[in-house]
Symmetry: C2
Subunit: 464 residues, 2 copies
Amino acid sequence: MKRTKVVDALACTDFGKDINVKGWVRSHRSSKAVDFIALNDGSTIKNIQVVLNPSDFDEELLKGITTGACINVTGTLVESQGAGQASEVQCRELEVYGLCPGDYPMQKKGQSFEYMRKYAHLRLRTNTFGAVFRIRHNMAIAVHQYFHDHGFYYFHTPLITASDAEGAGEMFQVTTLDLTRTGRDGAPVPYERDFFGKKTSLTVSGQLEGELGATSLGAIYTFGPTFRAENSNTPRHLAEFWMIEPEVAFMDKDELMDLEEDFIKYCVRWALDNCKDDLEFLDKMIDKTLLQTLESVVKEDFVRLTYGEGIRILEQVVKEGHKFEFPVTGWGMDLSSEHERFLVEEYFKRPVIMTDYPSEIKAFYMKKNADGKTMQGTDVLFPRIGEIIGGSVREESHDKLVDEIKARGMEPESYGWYLDTRKYGSCPHAGFGLGFERLMLFVTGMQNIRDVIPFPRTPKNAEY
Amino acid sequence: MKRTKVVDALACTDFGKDINVKGWVRSHRSSKAVDFIALNDGSTIKNIQVVLNPSDFDEELLKGITTGACINVTGTLVESQGAGQASEVQCRELEVYGLCPGDYPMQKKGQSFEYMRKYAHLRLRTNTFGAVFRIRHNMAIAVHQYFHDHGFYYFHTPLITASDAEGAGEMFQVTTLDLTRTGRDGAPVPYERDFFGKKTSLTVSGQLEGELGATSLGAIYTFGPTFRAENSNTPRHLAEFWMIEPEVAFMDKDELMDLEEDFIKYCVRWALDNCKDDLEFLDKMIDKTLLQTLESVVKEDFVRLTYGEGIRILEQVVKEGHKFEFPVTGWGMDLSSEHERFLVEEYFKRPVIMTDYPSEIKAFYMKKNADGKTMQGTDVLFPRIGEIIGGSVREESHDKLVDEIKARGMEPESYGWYLDTRKYGSCPHAGFGLGFERLMLFVTGMQNIRDVIPFPRTPKNAEY
């Protein structure tokens, strides 16, 4: 008999029909007259209730129906007597696919997230992580749907690279050399024998390659893994994370801000429209302001604010007595997450797109304004997160770009292919980067970035 | 004035209206009375024709309008007099965004693919590679759309891993150690000082982690980069490529074959429905049987054939005089691509799903049949490609899996988390892997796998 998914069985009102459901036991309550089994198959956070008369089944069989066991149930779909569920299954045939011994690490409810991180392969079977990873799927689908509908091409930039991009962070080296034989007290590494014949690393950003795509295909986006070898053991850092980086030819600063705002609202609205049950669970269990925060982001226009205006506001509130942990030192300072969140959560009570940062605190490829000291950046600051998007118009002048590269002590020779886009038919263009896990933190209300990716990679941790 | 994409301008019949188009010059023909500029912006393989009266424009400006230059054109949309195009732009204002010097490597038409591979950052601006990468986008979107519509969750498995998966291939090592100081004539590598505190590598397959997802969320798919450090300089091998790996709880062999056939037909149909112009170009320029091959795959039922039957057919045709390069040695042999393509292209003239291979020539996790010598594999063999999908039912018995791991000289201790799925609530399940670039070769008709990924990684090649 063909299996019905739990999500479909719960929505079905064709009472009296035969039905087959399969899944994992969330709980099993027994009594003399009746047994109740809460069954989940991952298709929804909700369980379907399986009801059976214990005298119809083998006692040993029923003893095996413990939390975590996997079973196959055939019976009749009936209207549920209980509150909050439409249908349940009156069980006629029962098969155990897999028992679950008593040392099952996910047996108890209410384990800490820290405990569950040690069992990343089994935490997927809990309510919270089921919800998080169904939402993660939906956010990824929203990303693809949005860009596809808007004429962007998904563009696969390389993971292994001989370029160090923008010097955006510490890199992992990739090698096939025998590490017991590579070096001797500082002697040169024999890269000529390495797989690629030179030193290679894992990418820290696909942006520069993405620009190659945008300046030929018109509008592209990347969505793939990105790496930082930073020894940061914080709830905000991962060594391996997923980035989304659209790049668009012929786009100016205003259009870029429109794109950023429209895109992120689309993703949040998608979650509200498609992940209702999971969000309601997280709103109840993780963050009681979650749904309200998501709904307000979708509704409100984002504030558009220059960096200079932002600094003036921070200086003003400090004068009025507001205390920040990190000092507000005036124009030229790099904002901390604390400052960003103050502007968003307390001052404007809305997301902010901050523009026109000082050039020195931003990357070399960002287009300078006519004043020579600010650049056409467009970062999006979000409640609870701080910077969720970093964007800018890109410098399209070959000569200005070379000057900037030199001024920063970098070597133009290392950027030959990148500079070629400015040498041959250069075009104005712009783009942004969004850390997918930051979006996930925002949309789920989870506090630790290790809890929104299935198998987090952090210092000293690469299990699975 | 708001830019109109070339794809939209060509479809517009609102003649007489003002229009702005931007893009790269594909060709510029001048005469005394009229200039014709073929303009492309990556949104379609088709160019829009820009027509201008040279006496209305500065001579120096017009001299800069060479192949590869980037320009901004405002004018009137008019009905085209030429064949094969509906509309063109009568130019009123013209701005050059970026000149293109005479050493532009993509200036000449008809360069070899080998030549163009040296300019992977500029080949994107050619007709062929524009077509290929628009199709690549569409195939990726088809993958996501199919699985989303069928209730699968996109599941991000890790790229950096301390596990060696199935021993599926040579691995790249990932490290932050200073290679000039790691080893001295075979002394142990100080992994305790490495970023993850142990030896780590780039994944060769996300399947084992994917099974963790399937046995909790029900049905998942991966779609991400995968790595093989094999020193193979062939038109079929990449060191970095993209894999799609669905895994489904409660799926049996027949359902798996249905999924494989339905999925791949969906992707090919998507290409036919959404990439018409690009496919027609490739059919004309690259492979004159392309459209016909794609259409036949969508129409025909795939043959379902056991390995044993396949071997008997091959033995029979050898007896009848057919010559193969690789010998047909009978039951137990590993089929070569030549044998697979013979069955598909000459014998059945249809795709084949081959099942029930000898266990010894397949991976440890595949479920054995009751005969003890064959397994429930379901590989899809395709014209021009050979094996395009490798699938199987997975062994769900903990004890059988441990026995198989030991029998192959592997260590069960290294697979603790994988075996946990069989220890705690094990369920029958199945899945397959599809190399995305193999699908791309099939759908585009291209011959070399380096020409269907933007920045190919191969031995001694990691530019960009």
